[in-house]
Symmetry: C2
Subunit: 222 residues, 2 copies
């Protein structure tokens, strides 16, 4: 079965919503694919007919296993193209999403597996999100927690972000926060829960709680 770019986007949206909310409401989908709820109903019908989605009126949508396979394949393509754009074409990490969104609909397994090999089978994309392998297996991130959960005195490495909007990523750039960097949580202010991080051998940064909640870290015991 062959899917249009639009249909692929719906599958990916359902997949993402299921991942975190558990449930893909019509309205949430509409926001995600930038269409009206009415259009979503339409499309869910079609995807049900072609066997990618399980759906009954008013009950929300879930993916069939065929649908999930498609969605995971798309996520794989998206993330590999992001790696390509950042690693090879020197794009900034906040500028690749839209392009990857276009590229992910091109070609089939052959292309993406060759791209994967060319990039050296990367495990993570430029935002720290794991890249599903050719079989569709996604390894979850290891012991990642939100930076807002760290305790004073703890050390950690930044390994991902929850929000990968351009706006947020650029903000992290300004704070000098990047994937792979190590920090110590110096203190956490009672007043607004903002925190002070010191970079290994260097500068201090003041990190608002709002930011910390969207940064993923791994604790280190050094």
């Amino acid at each position: 079965m062959l899917l249009s770019p639009s249909q692929e986007n719906y599958l990916k949206a359902i997949y993402k919503l299921q991942e975190d909310d558990g449930i893909a409401t019509n309205q949430a989908l509409a926001a995600m694919v930038e269409a009206t709820p009415a259009s979503v109903t339409n499309m869910l019908r079609k995807l049900t007919d072609t066997g990618f989605v399980e759906y009954e009126a008013y009950q929300g949508a879930t993916l069939t296993s065929a649908g999930r396979n498609q969605a995971v394949a798309l996520v794989r393509k998206h993330r590999l193209w992001e790696v390509f754009l950042v690693d090879k074409l020197q794009y900034d990490w906040d500028a690749v999403h839209a392009l990857a969104e276009e590229l992910e609909h091109i070609g089939g397994d052959e292309l993406i597996n060759r791209l994967d090999a060319f990039l050296g089978h990367p495990g993570f994309d430029p935002h720290g999100d794991p890249i599903p392998n050719a079989k569709g297996v996604v390894r979850a991130r290891q012991h990642a927690i939100a930076a807002s959960e760290a305790s004073v005195g703890g050390t950690f490495v930044v390994c991902g972000v929850k929000d990968s909007s351009s706006l947020f990523l650029q903000h992290l750039d300004k704070l000098n926060i990047a994937l792979g960097k190590a920090y110590t949580l110096k203190e956490c202010l009672e007043f607004d829960r903002s925190a002070v991080w010191t970079e290994q051998g260097g500068a201090c940064t003041n990190v608002s709680n709002e930011v910390a909640k969207n940064v993923l870290i791994q604790l280190t015991d050094a």
Copy 2:
């Protein structure tokens, strides 16, 4: 003005037809974009309205300068992606056309200029066709002639093909003919105009006239 992939394909088709036939008939265009002549008429109207095509009923289509710019940009994108697929992803030269056809509609100047830089500003694609630069300037191939024009005893280097169909390219593979290789034209048979080429320091190949007409060469005086 923003063009759909389909519209871009029409512009490219008109450009190609103008290049060799001089004139882009409705019928030829239909064959090229895989649509009916009626659909072509439709689209030519639209492209005329948006200022990319000059067109009056029954008179055939020509590109405006805006249209030509678009077309050249597309050719550039197409050929750069072909270089990427062959050089970086190790595709065979006969397998890249369809993929490049998809990739050429992605992104804008930024992407393609970065790709160009990443590839080292190549001058030619894997079939020997010249790649227009960022300004849209296409350098014509230097003194290239069809191999069928060579004279017995002459030496030459293969620098391009006229037919870049998968079928033809695979045939050249079987004959051990590739871009950049040097040959001497040993003899040309009266009977069917087929020729015998000897590779520098190596094997003989028997090349039919039909093949020779579709291979481009540069004469060498060594």
